[in-house]
Symmetry: C2
Amino acid sequence: MKIYLAGPEVFLPDAQEIGAAKKAICAEYGLEGLFPLDGGLDLSGLTQRQSGLAIYEANIALIEAAAGCIANVTPFRGPSLDAGTAYEIGHMRGLGKPVYAYSNDARPFAARTRHFCGVSGERDNDGILIEDFGLTDNLMIDGAAARSGSAIICADKAGALDDLAVFRACAAHAAEMLLGARA
Amino acid sequence: MKIYLAGPEVFLPDAQEIGAAKKAICAEYGLEGLFPLDGGLDLSGLTQRQSGLAIYEANIALIEAAAGCIANVTPFRGPSLDAGTAYEIGHMRGLGKPVYAYSNDARPFAARTRHFCGVSGERDNDGILIEDFGLTDNLMIDGAAARSGSAIICADKAGALDDLAVFRACAAHAAEMLLGARA
């Protein structure tokens, strides 16, 4: 069973190696991981913009081919997850497919946001609300996991984007949910 | 025709007023705006977590009722859009519905990200790639607009979350796409 591997790993210096490591872990649990760089796209002759949109289409094709996704929602350049990952979680849910997610930052969303904004109260210095439902990220992200019959798996790995211990736990969970249900 | 109004306005001090103003503009163009706070949810007796998940479900019901969405992708606490908005754009696309989007920050994503990271090259100080396709945000966001037959409408409004001039232009565009196609 195919599972899409959403996350900001594609931006890391060793993206291909991490993708391969994630796919190997998936295989241990009977899942076929689909990594966003798998498309093997030929972008020659395309403008920057055309290249970006071609990658979008390739990622959507992988999302459509998968039975669900495992998303790395570890904070990325701010208090929330990577924007592309948030999009992909939404697209999966719009297709009615389950989302399994993990974070290598154990702090609640509100604590991270307060730290980012340098405040301790309910609002930032512009009077904008700090979302505080005791969740891992914006409620649409936690909601996606909840609606998939799951919850975001978190552990304190100092926010490392490439630590795979929690990913492994999430892959085991996804396999139990997806393959257990099929068996 | 119903259109979902995605964006971080729900966190602003005058969220209800901005929601009402957006709905009034939509009505001028023959569209019925659905604002995330419309649900009129009774959260009494619920825990924080239950409240957050109930809001998720209410927002999903509005997304499912809408023919498409207008998304405010102005950067929010970091170089990218609000995570909940990114999710909702994805959910809409997963449902096969069009996404019209606008930003009150005219800078390309790469320039904003470099500014946020304090670098000028291709990678941040941790060696993590700065996505650079000349797009407005992560390629999954621009791709969603492109796949909807559109492009993100941007103007320099100093990143103000509540400036509605570009929203108006986006509402006019959405009406032309949605109602023009129906006529």
